[in-house]
C-alpha cells in the first residue's frame, strides 16, 4: 500500500506510543524497587538499593519462591509425561474420539481459572480428605499440571505432525526395535519441542494465581500468592516492589531460551 508520508509518520508515532505503553509499566516496576519511600508517588524522592538487601533477607518471599519452584518443577514433570503421551497418540494413531481428546486437553486453560479452581477444590475435598490427605503442595502440583499439559501437547504434536513416521519405519526396517527407534530417532526429533513445552509449562505454573488459591493447603504459599497477599499492605510495599522487579528481570531468561530454541517451536505463543 502506498502510504503517504503523513500516514507513515502517524503510524510510526502510533506504534511508538503503543510500545511505550507496553514497556513503561515494566520500567516503572524496576525504578520503583529503588524508591526509598513507601508510597508510589511519582517522581520518587530519591533512589536507594536499601530495600533490595531488606528483601533478600525476607523469609516469607524466599520460602514462597522455593514453593513456587517446587510446584513448577512437579507440574512440569507431570505435564511433560502426560502431554507427550497424548501427543504421540493423537499424531501417530487414528481412533474414535481423537478430536475430542485434543479438545479436552485445551479445556483447562480455556475455561476461567476460577471454574477450574473450585471444581478441583471440591473434588479434592470430597475425595482426598476422607483418605486423610489434605490440601497441600501435592494438590497444587496436580492442579497446575492439569492446565500445563496443553502447552507440552501443542509443542510435541506440532513437531510430530511435521516429521512423518517414515524415519521410525526406516529405523525399524534396518532392524531397530520399537524402543531403539524411539531412543535413537524419535526422541532426538522431538527433544527441542519437549524443552519448549517444559519452559512454557514451568512459566505458566510459576505465574498461576487463581488455581493455586483453590488448591493450596494452609501454609502453602507460592510466590504469586505471597505477592497478592502483601500487595495491599503499605508496610510490605518496598519488599513487594523488589520482588516484582526481580520477576521482571527474571522474565528475560525464558525469552532468551525461547529464542535459542528457534522459531519452529510454538514458544512464540503461550497458549
Amino acid at each position: 500500500m502506498h502510504l503517504s508520508r503523513t500516514a507513515r509518520t502517524a503510524l510510526r508515532i502510533g506504534a511508538g506510543l503503543g510500545f511505550a505503553v507496553i514497556y513503561v509499566p515494566l520500567l516503572l516496576v524496576l525504578v520503583n524497587s529503588l524508591n526509598p519511600d513507601r508510597s508510589a508517588s511519582w517522581p520518587p524522592p530519591g533512589l536507594t538499593a536499601h530495600w533490595w538487601s531488606v528483601a533478600a533477607h525476607n523469609s516469607g518471599a524466599r520460602d514462597a519462591l522455593w514453593v513456587s519452584v517446587k510446584a513448577g518443577l512437579g507440574a512440569t514433570a507431570i505435564a511433560l509425561v502426560l502431554g507427550t503421551l497424548i501427543a504421540f497418540a493423537v499424531a501417530r494413531h487414528r481412533f474414535f474420539g481423537r478430536d475430542t481428546v485434543s479438545f479436552v486437553v485445551v479445556l483447562p486453560i480455556a475455561l476461567p481459572g476460577i471454574v477450574t479452581g473450585i471444581a478441583l477444590n471440591s473434588a479434592f475435598s470430597t475425595v482426598l480428605e476422607p483418605l486423610g490427605v489434605g490440601l497441600g503442595l501435592f494438590t497444587v502440583i496436580v492442579g497446575h499440571a492439569t492446565f500445563c499439559i496443553v502447552v507440552v501437547f501443542n509443542n510435541v504434536v506440532a513437531r510430530l505432525r511435521r516429521t512423518s513416521g517414515s524415519y521410525e519405519e526406516a529405523a525399524m526396517d534396518l532392524g531397530a526395535s520399537t524402543f531403539r527407534a524411539f531412543a535413537d530417532v524419535t526422541f532426538p526429533l522431538v527433544r527441542s519441542a519437549l524443552l519448549a513445552g517444559a519452559l512454557l509449562a514451568f512459566a505458566l505454573s510459576f505465574d498461576e494465581v487463581v488455581v493455586t488459591t483453590f488448591t493450596a493447603g494452609p501454609g502453602i504459599e507460592t510466590l504469586p500468592i505471597w505477592i497478592f497477599g502483601n500487595m495491599t499492605r503499605p508496610q510490605q510495599a518496598p519488599v513487594v516492589n523488589v520482588v516484582a522487579a526481580v520477576l521482571v528481570l527474571l522474565s528475560v531468561i525464558p525469552i532468551y531460551v525461547a529464542q535459542r530454541l528457534s522459531a519452529d517451536t510454538a514458544t512464540s505463543s503461550r497458549v
Partner: protein, 297 residues
C-alpha cells in the same frame, strides 16, 4: 565398554515386548492414552461435571450445608436478582470494551511492525511484542496499581493538562485488562497484515482507490478474521478475571468476584454463577466460528 549391558534374558524380554507393541497398535494406543485420560477425563472432567451438577443443589440457609435436592432455584436467582444481573452485564461489558480497545490499539502497532518498519527489524519487533507475556501477570497488574495510585505516574503525566488519573475503579480495570491481553491481539493482526499480498494493494491503487478506501475495502476484510481470533483471547481472559479487579478496581465487582464470595457459604450458587462465564464464552466461540477465525488460531 563402560555401558551396562543387559543380560541375555533381560534383552530377550525387552525384545519380545517391543515386538508385541509393534504388532499390536491398539495396545500401543491404549498404553499411550490410559494415564492422560484418567487424569483429564476422570479427575478434571469429573470434577467439572460434579461442580455443574452441584449448581442444581441448594444450601440450607441456617447451617450453610449443601442440600442435595434437585432444583433450578440458583439459575432462577441468576436472572431475577438485580445485583447478579447487573454484575453479569457489567462483566460482559468490560470484556467487550477490553476487546474493542485491544483491537483499536493493536491495529496501528501491527500495521507498523508488519508493513512500515524495515524488514530487518520486524522479527525483533515481534519479540518486543511477545516479551511482556513472559513477565508475571501479578507484576503487570501491580505496575498499574502503582501508575494509578494517588500522586502516581498517571497523575503526574496528566497534571500539566489540569487533569488527574482515573484512580482505582471500573476504568482502571478496563485499562489494566487491555494492557494484559494486548499482545494476544497484536500478534494475530501482525501475522495477517504481514501475509497480505502486496499485489492486491497495488491492484486496488491501480483501480483508483485512495489509501483510505483500500484500507476499508481490501485490508480490513482480510484482517478481520485475525482480529476475531485475537478477540477470543481478550474476551474470554477478561471475562474470567477477578484478580485484576480486586487490585485496581476499587469496590467494582465482576462475575468472578461473585463466584469467589459465594464459595464458602453457598457453593451451589457459586457453581451456578460459574456457569455464566463458561456459557458466554461458548456462545462467543460459536459466534466467532461463523467467521472462520478459529481455524487461524
Amino acid at each position: 565398554m563402560t555401558t551396562h549391558e543387559p543380560t541375555a534374558a533381560g534383552r530377550g524380554t525387552v525384545r519380545r515386548l517391543a515386538g508385541t507393541l509393534h504388532r499390536r497398535p491398539r495396545l500401543r494406543l491404549a498404553l499411550l492414552l490410559t494415564a492422560p485420560l484418567l487424569w483429564l477425563a476422570v479427575l478434571y472432567l469429573g470434577s467439572l461435571a460434579v461442580l455443574f451438577v452441584s449448581a442444581f443443589w441448594t444450601t440450607d440457609s441456617f447451617t450453610s450445608q449443601v442440600v442435595k435436592v434437585w432444583s433450578t432455584d440458583n439459575f432462577h436467582a441468576l436472572f431475577t436478582t438485580p445485583v447478579f444481573r447487573q454484575v453479569i452485564l457489567r462483566s460482559v461489558g468490560v470484556a467487550l470494551a477490553v476487546t474493542v480497545l485491544c483491537a483499536v490499539i493493536a491495529f496501528p502497532v501491527a500495521f507498523y511492525t508488519a508493513r512500515v518498519a524495515r524488514p530487518r527489524w520486524r522479527p525483533l519487533l515481534v519479540v518486543a511484542i511477545l516479551t511482556p507475556l513472559w513477565a508475571s501477570y501479578l507484576v503487570k497488574v501491580y505496575a498499574w496499581r502503582l501508575i494509578l495510585s494517588e500522586g502516581g505516574l498517571a497523575d503526574w503525566i496528566l497534571a500539566p493538562f489540569g487533569l488527574s488519573g482515573p484512580g482505582y475503579g471500573l476504568p482502571a480495570t478496563v485499562l489494566t485488562l487491555t494492557y494484559l491481553w494486548l499482545p494476544y491481539m497484536i500478534l494475530p493482526v501482525h501475522t495477517a497484515l504481514e501475509q497480505l499480498p502486496a499485489n492486491l494493494l497495488d491492484a486496488s491503487a491501480d483501480l483508483g482507490a485512495r489509501p483510505g478506501r483500500t484500507f476499508r475495502s481490501v485490508v480490513l476484510p482480510l484482517v478481520l478474521p485475525s482480529v476475531a481470533a485475537g478477540s477470543v483471547f481478550t474476551f474470554s481472559l477478561s471475562l474470567g478475571d477477578y484478580i485484576t479487579v480486586q487490585i485496581v478496581g476499587g469496590k467494582t465487582q465482576l462475575i468472578g468476584n461473585l463466584v469467589y464470595s459465594n464459595i464458602e457459604l453457598n457453593l451451589p450458587m457459586a457453581a451456578a454463577l460459574g456457569t455464566v462465564p463458561v456459557a458466554v464464552i461458548v456462545l462467543y466461540l460459536l459466534a466467532i466460528r461463523r467467521t472462520g477465525a478459529l481455524n487461524s488460531l
